[in-house]
Structure formats: structure tokens, C-alpha cells
């Protein structure tokens, strides 16, 4: 396995730095290469969005960082550092001291992510006391403060309530407040709004973005919603079939996507005021390939408009355009740029007709 991401520089003050990370999961049919050669980092106060379709490995990536993968998964990496400390060489006990303390995680489904038989207060206080931040009374005060912060009214009386007494949106707010109990430097939010009503989704995202600024945390937001990414991301990593196929700043990736997959994804978003009512939105035909067993060539080639013979052989090189700007494709930057212009011109003609 080539780890051509090992040498991409990252600054020492990165909260989380990942280079050449692979996650292999052994399943009955063989080895599932869930994440291959992944590289990203986040600094304090920065928001990184990891984007991709279901099953592309974005949740696995976050669970790998948290050390929460099941026992049949193996993580290897050239670099996997959190606050300068190597996560791979840590014991489960050391990792558990970081989890919920220095790093927090918010999950997709707030309906099932809180324990149904304990009160909100109990579950919030527990995380504070566990990490030795203070006694039960201090934990209670902090819980009330944070519940108010996340926009929950009558915070004190909520502490005595059970999860089933709250709506999905409120439960997700409780999850967020709970993960903030110990002032973490990193929050990983794994599709935090997917399970919520559309009207609530925007509220929760705004809340996350606001809290991230206020508490000056690093935020990794995992999503398949590019609209969300465009609004809150500083930097973006696009994942496809376990590979980070394109990385860069939000502006770069949205304005000049290089990878055919990213170009296709961005084509799928309607732009208010620009996209005609009733116009044909872009779509990417085909499905994500199975990832079990050893793979060769580019994983996207079966769905790619520009696929050629050399896409099927060997490892796909990473085209580096800047420190954290790059994409994984055999097509060079100039040709990629030309392809993008051509397809945009074509779309403009189609819209004009």
C-alpha cells in the first residue's frame, strides 16, 4: 500500500493530524478496506467537513479517531496525533481518558443515543464527574449552564427528565451540551442532523457553528449534505469508497472542483437564483463499489465520465496543488480544469435552451 500522504506537512499546533490512515475490517467474506490512505487535520477554531455518500467510510474515519471501532477493525496510520500525542500507541484506558473529555462526539440518531433509563441530569453529570472535573453539584451547575447555552428552556427541570420525554431536536441539543461538559478541544459530529426534521436541521447546524466559535473548538462535521458544507466548512475532504478523493479549502473545492466525483457532486446542488425552476439537476449514475478484498485502480472509474484504460491499473496518484489542496485522479490539473469548464459550458447551454 502506497502511503503518499505521509509526507504532507501539518503544523504542530493541529488539534488532530492524520496521515496515511487505513481502516480494515475483517468480515466473513474477507477484508473490507473501509478507509484507505486517509489524510486530514484540523486546527483550533477550524471546521473540517468530511463529505461523501453512505458507506464511503466517513463514519468509520471518525470512529477510528475516537477509538470506538469494533474489535474486528484494524487501524494503521503513518500519523494519528491528537494534541501532539500519538493515538495509536495509547491503551484503551488512556483513550477513554481523552474521550468525552478532550474530544467529544455527536451521533446521527438522537432518539437512540441517550440511555432511556437514566435522566438527562444523570447522564450529563456522569461525564463531568468521570473526568474528575468536580463534584455532582458543580456538574449540575455546569449542566444547567450548558443546557441554556444550547437553547433549552427550563434547563433545571430538564435535568430530572428522561430522554423519551424530549423531542428529537431537544435530545440532539442535550447530546451537544453533554459533549461540551468538559470543554473539549475537538468535537466530531457524525451526520448530527440527518435524523431530524428539516426545520430543526438548520437550527442544530447553526447552534453547532455558533458553539464552535464561542468555545473556539475544532469541529469535524461529517455529512452528505453539500449545502451544509458550503455554509459552515473552512475546509472540505470529499470521500469516495474509502478514499479521500479531494481535499482543500471550502472555496477551492466549491469553485474549482478537480476530481470528476467532486465535479459531479457539486453539479447536483441547485443554486438559488441561478438554477432554473424545473431544470435537470446533475446526478451521478451507478452505485458505490463493494470494498471487500484487494482493489486495484480508481474506485470511481465505473461511474466516471472520463474513465480510461490506465484508471484500472495500479494506485491512483495524489495530485498535490497546495499544502492541503489535492485530489486523487490520473487526470492532471490542467486537463481537470478544462473538463470542468467544458461541462459547465455545456450545462449553461442546456439551461439556455
Amino acid at each position: 500500500m502506497v502511503t503518499d500522504t505521509a509526507d504532507i506537512p501539518y503544523s504542530e499546533d493541529s488539534i488532530l493530524a492524520v496521515r496515511g490512515m487505513n481502516v480494515d475490517i475483517s468480515v466473513p467474506a474477507g477484508t473490507l478496506h473501509a478507509v484507505t490512505n486517509s489524510a486530514f487535520h484540523v486546527k483550533q477554531g477550524e471546521t473540517l467537513c468530511i463529505v461523501g455518500e453512505s458507506g464511503c467510510g466517513k463514519s468509520i474515519t471518525s470512529l477510528a479517531v475516537m477509538g470506538l471501532l469494533p474489535a474486528n477493525a484494524t487501524v494503521t496510520a503513518d500519523v494519528l496525533k491528537f494534541e501532539g500525542r500519538d493515538l495509536l500507541s495509547m491503551s484503551q484506558k488512556q483513550l477513554s481518558e481523552l474521550r468525552g473529555n478532550r474530544m467529544g462526539m455527536i451521533f446521527q440518531d438522537p432518539m437512540t443515543s441517550l440511555n432511556p433509563v437514566y435522566t438527562i441530569g444523570n447522564q450529563m453529570q456522569e461525564i463531568y464527574v468521570r473526568h474528575g472535573k468536580g463534584n455532582a453539584q458543580q456538574a449540575k451547575d455546569r449542566a444547567i449552564y450548558l443546557l441554556e447555552k444550547v437553547g433549552i428552556t427550563a434547563a433545571e427541570s430538564r435535568l430530572g427528565q428522561y430522554p423519551h420525554q424530549l423531542s428529537g431536536g431537544l435530545r440532539q441539543r442535550v447530546m451537544i451540551a453533554m459533549m461540551l461538559m468538559n470543554d473539549p478541544v475537538l468535537i466530531i459530529a457524525d451526520e448530527p442532523t440527518t435524523a431530524l426534521d428539516v426545520t430543526i436541521q438548520a437550527q442544530i447546524l447553526h447552534l453547532l457553528a455558533d458553539l464552535q466559535k464561542e468555545f473556539n473548538m475544532a469541529l469535524i462535521l461529517i455529512t452528505h449534505d453539500l449545502g451544509v458544507v458550503a455554509r459552515i466548512a473552512d475546509r472540505v475532504a470529499v470521500m469516495y469508497a474509502g478514499y479521500m478523493v479531494e481535499t482543500g479549502s471550502s472555496d477551492e473545492v466549491f469553485n474549482a472542483p478537480m476530481h470528476p466525483y467532486t465535479q459531479g457532486l457539486i453539479d447536483c446542488i441547485p443554486i438559488p437564483g441561478k438554477t432554473e425552476r424545473g431544470a435537470q439537476l446533475g446526478s451521478i449514475p451507478g452505485i458505490v463499489p463493494a470494498l471487500v478484498g484487494d482493489q486495484e485502480g480508481c474506485m470511481f472509474r465505473s461511474r466516471c465520465d472520463y474513465a480510461m484504460e490506465k484508471c484500472a491499473v495500479g494506485d491512483v496518484p495524489r495530485q498535490a496543488l497546495g499544502e492541503m489542496r489535492g485530489y486523487r485522479c490520473v487526470i492532471g490539473p490542467e486537463q481537470a480544469e478544462a473538463n470542468l469548464q467544458a461541462s459547465r459550458a455545456k450545462a449553461a447551454v442546456a439551461a439556455g435552451e
Binding site: 470506538l68 440511555n115 432511556p116 459533549m179
Partner: protein
């Protein structure tokens, strides 16, 4: 909570009435009680006399209401055999049965809960298989056979334990082990499946994401969710241990309710049999109510329904 309690009490009362009617009718459906009491060679006239003496010639619903009316005042009639009041017969035998059932239930749970949790955590390892083998053994071996083997081994050959009676705590060891061997496997299996389910759930992942220690994740977050069905089962099993230990009580000559029931059936002592049947049903009703209340304590979602 008050509404929940009221609702459960109403249901219990309805069940109690139904059970008492069924219990009362079953005995009368099992044959002509007067004919059986009068003996094999009795004439029609003698049978009629017996029926009149015991009130068996009255219409069914009058007999039932009369019996219920007296029962509510604590009068369950007298034994046909010893002429003692039935209530007294049962209450003098009850403590030893309750004692035996309690020991057995506690022992069964003490073994089943840790074993079930361990089996779930070490799923598909030798520990899991050993636990399941123990469960199969406990369920497959007939209680009377297991009891006899223990008597032979510990009582007769090694002479470590007394084989009959209830004089000291040592007398309780073998009956307790016999009964709990029978009850343990179902608790163990249910704990194991419950834990396997719960360990997969999202809130366990959350608990781990909070950095809680494995001990807390397991015993605080997982077990409480996993034991809910075990509580319900334990209530039923306790009822069974209280009323259904006929065989074990007879083998170890434990002079309890089960033994009394067996004796009374053989002696055709119908007031006693009928009272024990209804009594055991009531025990079940009370225990089910109790398990509902415990479950409501453990799981706030139940309190709302």
C-alpha cells in the same frame, strides 16, 4: 405513577376473580366430589347425604359465592382428613416453602446474572460455550433425578449433608441447589441475549464516547436495560418455586405447601386442594404485579403506558 398502579391493581383484581372461578370449577368438573367422598360402595342415598352435608347439592354459583364469602373472611373450610382449618394448614406450611423458594431464586440469579453478562461479553468464546452448556445441562436434567443423584453422592456416599427434613440450614442446601439448577438456565439465557442486544445499541456507543470505564458502561448502562425481561421472568419463576416444587419437596421431605398439595390430592381432600390452587394463583398475581412495579422503577418509559 398513581395511575399506573391503579391500572395494574384493577387488572390484578379481574385476574384474581377469573382465576378463582376457574379454580373452583375445575375441581367440580374433575368428577362427582360427593361420590368420591362417599366411597366406592356407597349407595345413591349415601352419596346424596354426603352431598347435602358438604353443601355440594346446591347450584354451582351458590356454592361459589358461599365459598368466596367465607374465604374473604379468612375461612377456607376444614380439611376432610385432619379436620384442621385449611388456612392454618397452608400458613403453617408456607414459611418453609417461601424460605426454600427464596434461597433458590437468589442462588439462581447470583449464578445467572454474572454468567449471562460474561457469556455476552465473550460471545462465541469457550466461556460463552461453557455457560450455554451449563444452561442446557440444567434444563435437560430432570429435577427428581438430579436430586436423587445428589442424595446418593453427598448424602449417602460422602455423608456431608442431611438428606431429608428442614431442621438446619444444611438441610436446605440440596433442595436449594436442585431448584435453582432448574431455574438458573432461563435467567442466564435471557441475561445473555438481553446483554447482546443492548451492547449493540447506540447509547452504549455514547457511553463509550463519554470515556466511561468498561465497568460503568457494562453494569450501569447496559445491565439495567438488559435485565428488564429477567425481572418479569424471575417473578414467574418465583411463583413456580413457591407452588410447583411438589417433587423436590417430597424427595427431600420438606414439609411445605407443595408437599401438602401432593398429600391432599392423594387423600382427595378437596377443600385443601381447591384452596392451594387458588392460593398459588394469587401468589402469581401478586408477583406479576410486583415485577411490573420493579420494571416501572427500572424503566421510566413503562410508567407512562
Amino acid at each position: 405513577m398513581a395511575q399506573f398502579l391503579l391500572q395494574r391493581l384493577t387488572i390484578s383484581l379481574l385476574v384474581a376473580i377469573t382465576v378463582s372461578i376457574i379454580g373452583f370449577s375445575l375441581l367440580r368438573l374433575s368428577g362427582d366430589l360427593a361420590a368420591e367422598l362417599a366411597g366406592e360402595d356407597a349407595t345413591q342415598e349415601e352419596i346424596a347425604q354426603v352431598a347435602k352435608a358438604y353443601g355440594l347439592d346446591r347450584p354451582f354459583h351458590i356454592q361459589y359465592l358461599d365459598w368466596v364469602g367465607k374465604a374473604l373472611q379468612g375461612d377456607l373450610g376444614r380439611s376432610l382428613f385432619t379436620n384442621e382449618p385449611v388456612l392454618e394448614l397452608i400458613t403453617t406450611r408456607l414459611p418453609v416453602t417461601v424460605q426454600l423458594a427464596t434461597y433458590s431464586l437468589i442462588l439462581a440469579l447470583l449464578v445467572a446474572l454474572p454468567l449471562g453478562v460474561l457469556a455476552a461479553m465473550k460471545q462465541n468464546t469457550w466461556i460463552d460455550r461453557l455457560a450455554l452448556s451449563i444452561a442446557v445441562f440444567g434444563q435437560a436434567i430432570p429435577s427428581f433425578w438430579f436430586a436423587l443423584l445428589m442424595i446418593l453422592f453427598f448424602g449417602v456416599i460422602l455423608r456431608w449433608l442431611p438428606i431429608s427434613g428442614t431442621d438446619t440450614w444444611r438441610h436446605f442446601i440440596m433442595p436449594t441447589i436442585t431448584l435453582s439448577t432448574f431455574a438458573m438456565p432461563q435467567f442466564m439465557r435471557l441475561t445473555r441475549t438481553g446483554m447482546l442486544d443492548v451492547l449493540e445499541s447506540d447509547f452504549i456507543r455514547t457511553a463509550r464516547a463519554k470515556g466511561l470505564s468498561p465497568v460503568i458502561v457494562l453494569w450501569k448502562h447496559a445491565l439495567r436495560n438488559a435485565v428488564l425481561p429477567v425481572v418479569s421472568l424471575a417473578a414467574v419463576a418465583f411463583g413456580f418455586l413457591l407452588g410447583g416444587s411438589f417433587i423436590v419437596e417430597s424427595i427431600f421431605a420438606v414439609n411445605g405447601v407443595g408437599f401438602l398439595a401432593l398429600e391432599s390430592i392423594i387423600r382427595q381432600d378437596f377443600p385443601v386442594v381447591q384452596s392451594i390452587v387458588v392460593f398459588i394463583s394469587f401468589v402469581y398475581i401478586v408477583l406479576t404485579l410486583l415485577s411490573d412495579l420493579i420494571n416501572a422503577q427500572l424503566d421510566p418509559r413503562i410508567r407512562l403506558t
